[in-house]
Amino acid sequence: MKRSRTAALLLMSTAPLLLTACDRSESASREGLYTSVEACVAQTNDSNTCQQAFAKAQQDAVATAPRFANREACEASYGKEKCAERNDGASHSFFGPLMTGFFLSQMMSRNGVAANGFNSAPAFRDSGGGWQRPATGAGGVYRGGAGTAMVPVNATPNRAVTVSRSGFGTSGSSRGIGG
């Protein structure tokens, strides 16, 4: 079949939409960003998991870090001496940032004990001091390929006093916009 199996509307429909209830278990998850295995152990008291998480993140770092054609471009984003030459195994060489930390996330059971298994990911620090992680989910509708999109880690909304509006949209009144 070349078409969607269903095509639901949530907001646009005037008819009530039947939503499939999804039973989520009451489990919570814990995630930390650590700059060293020691910092991770201090927080989690689980040196085995911390070491494995670090090793896996380091392994993933080459594949998921942003890729740059030359050192200058990489250092422009990640700072001086924060980049290394890499090779993807198919004789394509490129530059990528060095891993500066790692994430560890674990599912926690109700009594606060970490369940078996964990997820980890490399973290990178840009030249502005912000932390980034690779976006999840290469594959599927998106092709993997030359590096993964990076996600800023600190995404807390902030506020600012607006001093002016209507600085966008002046081209819009005279014509249709879409193509």
Partner: protein, 394 residues
């Protein structure tokens, strides 16, 4: 590929009203037209539309990589100097993209020919993804279509999947913005927002005109929250030109479509693609325009024209055709003239949707002129099982 006359659903206007499809009729002229549909074979869809779309999409992304490394290409595409590093950076970071539409001339014979990439602000999305889908389901249920008929249209599923995939890469708060008074554009962002919500992404809506600026150059919503990510159904090149534009590169605002899409929604991509893949069956010969007289067999298009505006066509037989519009100044390209084929006096243009990196559906707009403009009507399509035809022809 055939045009097949068919009975309309008697209740389609009520159905349109029930799902918020307010622009099925625009300025008293029909826009949604289900008095006929285009019938395709599965082979036509898969070999002639789907596979070339994915291939061209990959070629286009490869070309972005080349353009960001070339001041000369940036110049050819008329990218304003203050935005070039920002655009290049957005590509290096692979800032997530959502969707695009390729327009093809195709009539069932020979390869589909790429007219252009609408990779920044494509519309006609809701009618392709949802209303066309509903038409097929209804007409199958009513027995108006041969049993087993299908449609090349997993646009909806792909959109929800794409939003889910990039969800963690979208800065919050996340707003969808379009021009306040454009019913069609507002309908398109309402649908995209609907899909984002279905993917579990909390998001708001905002008129482009209501975006605010703080003293330190950040963009705000009506509650003075700094906008994290903005889906803007508004051309990047217009944002660049307008008074707030200069603040974009340092504002921290994430855009969808991302800044690097300015390189693909630009018709300058067409000569660059042709130079890199000369003779590709789905590409038309193209070159940057030198401003001289347009020879026979060529079409002139401004780099940024939308809705078929300011197109000049000089056909092989000497006939000339020009459309009016607001893009009179500025650089142009030339593309080999490859006129649309007529089906009963209509000229269908195939819009091939690419969500994420997947070719996932088509929508057909037909105009009564060779240049598809905002006067075009949307006509649904179906994939018809072809087994009966051999018998008829025997």
């Amino acid at each position: 590929m055939r045009l097949v006359a068919t009975a309309e659903r008697p209740d389609w206007r009520a159905k349109a009203a029930a799902c918020g499809f307010g622009f099925h009729t625009i300025d008293d002229a029909p826009y949604w037209d289900e008095s006929a549909y285009y019938a395709f074979s599965l082979r036509e869809i898969e070999n002639d539309i789907e596979a070339p779309s994915e291939e061209l999409h990959a070629m286009a992304l490869d070309m972005v990589e080349r353009i960001v490394g070339s001041e000369q290409h940036m110049q050819q595409l008329a990218i304003p100097e203050p935005y070039r590093d920002w655009i290049a950076q957005s590509w290096r970071e692979r800032q997530p993209h959502l969707y695009g539409r390729m327009d093809f001339a195709y009539d069932g014979t020979g390869p589909a020919k790429l007219y252009e990439l609408n990779y920044d602000t494509p519309t006609s999305l809701f009618e392709a993804a949802f209303f066309q889908w509903q038409w097929l389901e209804d007409q199958l249920a009513r027995g108006q279509l041969p049993a087993g008929s299908d449609q090349f249209n997993s646009i909806y599923e792909s959109l929800v999947e794409a939003f889910g995939t990039i969800a963690r890469g979208i800065a919050r708060p996340f707003h969808f913005a379009a021009v306040r008074d454009s019913v069609e554009d507002q309908g398109t962002v309402a649908y995209l927002r609907d899909c984002a919500l279905q993917a579990g992404i909390d998001c708001g809506a905002l008129a482009i005109e209501d975006i605010g600026l703080s003293a330190d150059g950040r963009f705000t919503d009506l509650d003075d929250n700094v906008i994290g990510c903005l889906f803007k159904l508004y051309p990047l090149e217009d944002l660049f030109r307008e008074s707030f534009g200069q603040h974009l590169p340092r504002s921290g605002l994430q855009l969808i479509e991302p800044p690097w899409k300015a390189l693909l929604s630009n018709k300058g991509i067409l000569p660059l693609l042709w130079d890199a893949h000369r003779g590709h069956p789905n590409l038309l010969p193209a070159a940057f325009d030198d401003g001289g007289e347009l020879p026979r067999g060529w079409v002139r298009k401004p780099l940024h024209s939308r809705e078929g505006a300011n197109i000049a066509m000089h056909m092989d037989d000497g006939r000339e055709l020009r459309t009016d519009g607001p893009y009179r100044d500025g650089p142009c390209i030339r593309q080999a003239c490859h006129p649309l084929t007529t089906f009963d006096g209509h000229y269908p243009l195939i819009g091939s949707w690419v969500v994420g990196d997947r070719a996932c559906g088509i929508g057909i707009r037909e105009d009564s002129s060779l240049v598809t403009q905002d006067s075009a009507r949307f006509v649904p399509h179906a994939i018809i099982v072809e087994e009966a035809r051999g018998v008829l022809m025997a």
